[in-house]
Symmetry: C2
Subunit: 214 residues, 2 copies
């Protein structure tokens, strides 16, 4: 990071892109930058990902790059946030099916599968995630995402078991989502067959009733 003086375009969301440009052309370039960034990360890994790579591949100059994104972390952050949003949609969808206490365990299992398939479909997600772990500001972004996921799970459980105490529920949800994320990130490092086996094992460890929460 070098010196910083003025924000030339508009109020930036912390760690994310500057406010969207108004002209059509620039919106296209914005997307082009993100697309190139994704390609480069997929090819070279998050570690070797350089601003100069994006300049070279996208044809967008340094100055322009920094008109769209306040810094390098913002590019990674924008990619991460898009993927996180996809993940949140999966979870929302899988939890929507919970209408009775006994639906919970199957729903958690579906989330495990959704998450695993999402990572397998977009291997670059792993690089993006690693890049977010490397930056304090971006770690917060993932922490916030986890908080939302945890909230979604809490809401689903509350729907079918209103008597569970709030504090217990919050702790349980956060832990469960953390473990699901950890298990899936572990699984994607394995060959697919092993991965399925490991995830099956993991599903048996997920709670299949709400007794522990009472």
């Amino acid at each position: 990071m070098a010196r910083r003086k003025a924000a030339p375009v508009a109020a930036p969301l912390p760690g994310l892109a500057r406010l969207a440009p108004t002209q059509q052309r620039s919106r296209e370039r914005f997307e082009r930058i993100l697309a190139c960034a994704t390609e480069i990360m997929a090819e070279k890994g998050s570690e070797a990902f350089r601003m100069s790579d994006i300049v070279e591949r996208s044809g967008v100059a340094f100055g322009s790059l920094y008109q769209y994104f306040p810094d390098k972390a913002a590019i990674i952050g924008t990619l991460a946030e898009r993927h996180n949003a996809v993940g949140r949609d999966c979870v929302r969808r899988d939890l929507a099916a919970v209408t009775a206490p006994r639906d919970l365990h199957p729903a958690l299992c579906r989330i495990v599968d959704s998450y695993y398939e999402m990572f397998m479909r977009e291997p670059v997600m792993r690089d993006i995630w690693q890049a977010t772990q490397a930056d304090r500001g971006l770690q917060k972004l993932d922490a916030d995402d986890m908080a939302v996921l945890s909230g979604l799970l809490s809401d689903a459980i509350r729907r079918v078991a209103p008597s569970v105490p709030s504090a217990t529920l919050a702790s349980f949800s956060a832990l469960t989502m953390t473990l699901i994320a950890a298990a899936v990130r572990h699984a994607i490092t394995l060959p697919p067959k092993k991965a399925r086996q490991v995830l099956a094992q993991f599903k048996t460890m997920l709670p299949d009733d709400l007794a522990g929460l009472a």
Copy 2:
């Protein structure tokens, strides 16, 4: 990273320190560098950790620093490896008590507690871990550590249940250790009281018999 020409001291372990210097004085400086690095990380976080900070605080010149460590990652790697070794000792000790299948669950619970207490005793471990996650080479170091831990668990189970198939056992052990690490890293972000509650919840999710492995 800049250019590299020759390894002036000796064959470096990848990601770690160069081979130990022979003289007493230099061995002391080596430790001094690591001690300062730990302090700086604890104070400023892994993100803001600079080689120039170490030079300033330790009084060791740049050239000398790089005589002991091939690069910045090696300093972090050396710290990480030391902490990992402590963790492995905990696990070894806790698993040594397993002499029958029913000892397994209590042993896993003890590991959870040992790990949590280790992190609480040395908060800088969290920064060191984050720094290792930020570097591809160091990620491997943690992966290797996890492989060892997983192996220790496999050995313990094999001792009391020789009939469990190897492949199943390996998958189970790797998953279990991964989940323990994830749960503990989650817990240390919480206030201690909540953390205990979450870890207690987690322990109930750990398998308490070996039926699932048969």
